[in-house]
C-alpha cells in the first residue's frame, strides 16, 4: 500500500500530460522547466521552450495546433519555438504526430516546429509532421532527424545557418520538400516525392547518399552556389532531375530516369560526373552550360532527345562513357555540340566504352 501511495505521489509531481487529456496551451506561453508530453496536446497559441529547458515528447503522442490567421494570407500562425532542446523520440509502432486541430486541414494550417539558436542538438525520431507552414524550421541550430515523415506541408523542412542530419526521412506531397541556405546538410536514405520543389538549397554543403527523389513537379534537386556530394541516389520523373547552378562537387553511381526535361542540368558549375546511368530523360541526359568538370564512365541508355548537350563555348572531354551504341555516327547524333551549332564547343567522345558498364541501382 505504501508503495502504491509513493508511486501516486511521484506521478502527481511529474509534469507529464499522460493522464490529463488533452494538455492545452493557450495564448503565448513559455515552458521554463523541463517538461514531458505524452498523450494528447493542444497548442492554441504560441508555445516557447525557454533556453536551457528540454521538452521531451514520448512515443504515440499527438500534438495538434489550432488555426489562427491574423493577416488573412491563409497561413496558420500557432506554433512551437524551441530555444532549448527538443527530444521527440517516437517509435515505428508509436510515432509522434504533429498535426492540425482542424477536421479538414490544408497545408499551412499551423506554423512550425521552430528551432532557434539551440546549443544542444535537438532530435526528432519517428515523427510525422503534417499540414504545417514549415514542418521543421531552424535558425542557427543543430538537429538530427531520423525516420520522420513530412507530408502535406507548405515547406516540409526549412533551415538557415544550421547543421542538420536526415536519416531515412520522407518528404511527400509538400509544396517544397526541403529547402535551406547557409547550412551543413547530410541526407542518408532520403525519399522526396510528389512535391513541387524536391530539394532546394543555396550556399550550403550537401552530402546525399542512397536517396530517391521522384515525381517532383519543378526540379528534383536544385542547388545554387553549393558544395554537393551525391552518391547512389535515384532521381526519376521530375521535371529536371538535378539542377546545379554555380556549384561544385561530384555525382556518382546515381540513376537519372524519366525526368521530363533533363537528368542533370549544369550551369556555371564544376562537377565530376562519374559512373551514373541516364535514360529516358526527355530533352537530354545531361545539359552542360558554361561548366567544367569530368564526365567519365557514365551509361547513357537512350530514350532522350540527346544524351548530352554542350551549350558551353568551351570543348568538353567526355571519355570512357557508354552512349547506347558503339557506332561513332550514332554517338555523334546523340550528342549536340559545336558541330551542330555555331559558337559552341565540341564534345570529344572518341574514346567511348564499347559496352554498357555494370550498374546496380534500378527503379525497382
Amino acid at each position: 500500500m505504501v508503495r502504491w501511495l509513493l508511486l501516486l505521489f511521484l506521478l502527481w509531481g511529474l509534469p507529464v500530460s499522460a493522464f490529463a487529456e488533452p494538455l492545452v496551451y493557450r495564448g503565448e506561453t513559455t515552458l521554463w522547466n523541463d517538461t514531458i508530453w505524452q498523450g494528447e496536446v493542444l497548442i492554441d497559441g504560441i508555445l516557447t521552450v525557454a533556453p536551457g529547458t528540454t521538452l521531451e515528447i514520448r512515443p504515440g503522442t499527438t500534438i495538434r495546433f489550432t488555426f489562427f490567421d491574423s493577416n488573412d494570407d491563409g497561413i496558420g500562425e500557432h506554433e512551437i519555438f524551441i530555444q532549448g532542446v527538443l527530444r521527440a523520440i517516437g517509435q515505428s509502432e508509436a510515432p509522434i504526430l504533429f498535426t492540425s486541430a482542424q477536421s479538414s486541414p490544408h497545408p499551412g494550417a499551423w506554423g512550425a516546429i521552430n528551432l532557434m539558436a539551440g546549443e544542444v542538438a535537438s532530435e526528432l525520431n519517428f515523427c510525422i509532421v503534417e499540414y504545417a507552414y514549415r514542418g521543421f524550421h531552424s535558425h542557427f541550430a543543430q538537429a538530427s532527424l531520423q525516420d520522420d515523415e513530412f507530408r502535406h506541408n507548405i515547406r516540409g523542412a526549412q533551415f538557415q545557418e544550421s547543421e542538420v542530419s536526415f536519416e531515412r526521412c520522407r518528404f511527400i506531397d509538400n509544396l517544397n520538400g526541403v529547402q535551406f541556405r547557409d547550412s551543413q546538410v547530410r541526407f542518408e536514405d532520403l525519399l522526396v516525392s510528389n512535391n513541387y520543389w524536391g530539394v532546394r538549397g543555396v550556399h550550403s554543403h550537401v552530402v546525399l547518399n542512397a536517396g530517391r527523389v521522384s515525381r517532383n513537379l519543378v526540379n528534383g534537386i536544385n542547388l545554387r552556389d553549393c558544395d554537393a556530394t551525391i552518391t547512389a541516389t535515384i532521381l526519376d520523373h521530375n521535371r529536371k532531375g538535378l539542377y546545379l547552378q554555380g556549384s561544385r562537387g561530384s555525382v556518382r553511381n546515381s540513376l537519372f530516369s524519366g525526368n521530363s526535361e533533363h537528368g542533370i542540368y549544369l550551369e556555371e558549375s564544376e562537377v565530376a560526373i562519374i559512373g551514373n546511368r541516364l535514360l529516358d530523360n526527355g530533352r537530354a541526359g545531361i545539359k552542360w552550360v558554361a561548366s567544367q568538370g569530368t564526365l567519365l564512365q557514365n551509361r547513357f541508355d537512350g530514350g532522350s532527345e540527346y544524351a548530352l548537350v554542350n551549350d558551353s563555348a568551351t570543348p568538353l572531354m567526355a571519355q570512357r562513357n557508354w552512349w547506347g551504341s558503339s557506332d561513332p555516327a550514332t554517338i555523334a547524333v546523340a550528342i549536340r555540340d559545336g558541330s551542330d551549332r555555331a559558337g559552341i564547343g565540341l564534345v570529344d567522345a572518341t574514346d567511348f566504352l564499347p559496352a554498357p558498364p555494370e550498374f546496380v541501382l534500378s527503379l525497382q
Binding site: 488573412d72 520543389w197 519543378v218 521535371r239 526527355g282
Partner: protein, 259 residues
C-alpha cells in the same frame, strides 16, 4: 471667316499646345502581394513584386490593360511562389480577356535584350476557371505555366519567352489560336498533361517548337509549326497529330521511344 482669321486661330491653337507641353503618361498603379478579395483593374499597372491570387478570389483585367513587370534580382526561395523571379501566381482565378482591338499586355518594365528574361510569367497553379485571351506576353521565363489547371488560353501572342507555354499535370487546358514566337522553346506538355492544342502557330524557337513528354497525351490539331530547331518532338509514337502544318523546321519531327 477670312483666311487671316483662320491663320490666327491656328497659330493660337498651336501656341496653346506648346504651352501645355507633352502629354503626361498615365499614372501606373503599383501592384504586388496577396490578392485576398476580388479585384478588377484597368489602365497601366506596374508589378513591383510577386502577385498571388488566393484560392476563391478573382483578378479581372479589363481589355486594354497594360501590366509592366519590374525585374527582380532575388535569391528568395519562398515556397508560396514557384520562381525566384517576379511572378503572377494564380491559385484563384485570373480573367484577362482582351479583344482584337484592345489586347492586354504583360511586358517587362524596361526593354530587354532578346534572350534576356525579366520575370517568371503567369503561373496557374491548381487555379480556378481562368481565361487569358488576346494577351501579349513578353520577356518571361515561362510565358504561361499551367499546373493541374484548366484555363482557356485563346488568341494570345507570346514572344521572346524562354518557354512560351508549359502545361503540367492534370487538368484540361484549352490552347487555341495562340502565336508563340521567338523563344527557346514553344509549347511543352509535361507530367501527364492532356491539353487541347489546336490552331496555334509556333515559330522561330531556338529549340523545340512543341514538346510532349512520355507521360502526356495532348490533343493536337491544325497547328502550324515552323522555323524551329525541332518542330514536333514526341515521346509517344502512338500519339495522333496532323503532319501538314509542320514544315520549315531544321528537323520537322522527332519521335523517341515507343507508344
Amino acid at each position: 471667316m477670312s483666311l487671316r482669321l483662320l491663320l490666327i486661330t491656328l497659330v493660337l491653337l498651336l501656341a496653346a499646345c506648346t504651352v501645355a507641353g507633352p502629354p503626361t503618361p498615365p499614372l501606373r498603379q503599383e501592384l504586388s502581394g496577396v490578392i485576398s478579395r476580388d479585384l478588377t483593374l484597368s489602365g497601366e499597372i506596374l508589378l513591383t513584386g510577386d502577385l498571388l491570387i488566393l484560392p476563391g478570389r478573382t483578378l479581372t483585367l479589363m481589355p486594354g490593360t497594360k501590366v509592366f513587370v519590374r525585374k527582380a534580382e532575388s535569391s528568395k526561395i519562398d515556397p508560396e511562389y514557384l520562381s525566384s523571379l517576379t511572378e503572377i501566381l494564380v491559385r484563384g482565378t485570373l480573367q484577362a480577356e482582351g479583344t482584337v482591338l484592345a489586347p492586354i499586355f504583360f511586358l517587362p518594365e524596361t526593354p530587354l535584350a532578346v534572350s534576356e528574361v525579366a520575370w517568371a510569367g503567369i503561373i496557374l497553379d491548381r487555379a480556378g476557371a481562368s481565361s487569358i485571351e488576346h494577351a501579349r506576353i513578353e520577356g518571361a521565363d515561362q510565358g504561361i505555366l499551367s499546373i493541374s489547371s484548366s484555363p482557356q488560353l485563346l488568341d494570345n501572342t507570346i514572344r521572346h519567352c524562354r518557354y512560351g507555354l508549359v502545361v503540367q499535370g492534370r487538368g484540361s487546358a484549352t490552347i487555341h489560336g495562340n502565336r508563340i514566337e521567338a523563344g527557346e522553346g514553344g509549347v511543352f506538355v509535361l507530367a501527364g498533361a492532356t491539353p487541347d492544342i489546336a490552331d496555334n502557330r509556333i515559330s522561330d524557337q531556338v529549340e523545340e517548337g512543341l514538346f510532349v513528354d512520355a507521360a502526356s497525351r495532348p490533343h493536337l490539331d491544325r497547328n502550324e509549326i515552323s522555323g524551329n530547331a525541332i518542330g514536333l518532338l514526341l515521346h509517344n509514337s502512338d500519339l495522333p497529330f496532323e503532319r501538314g502544318g509542320i514544315s520549315g523546321n531544321r528537323e520537322d519531327l522527332r519521335i523517341i521511344g515507343g507508344g
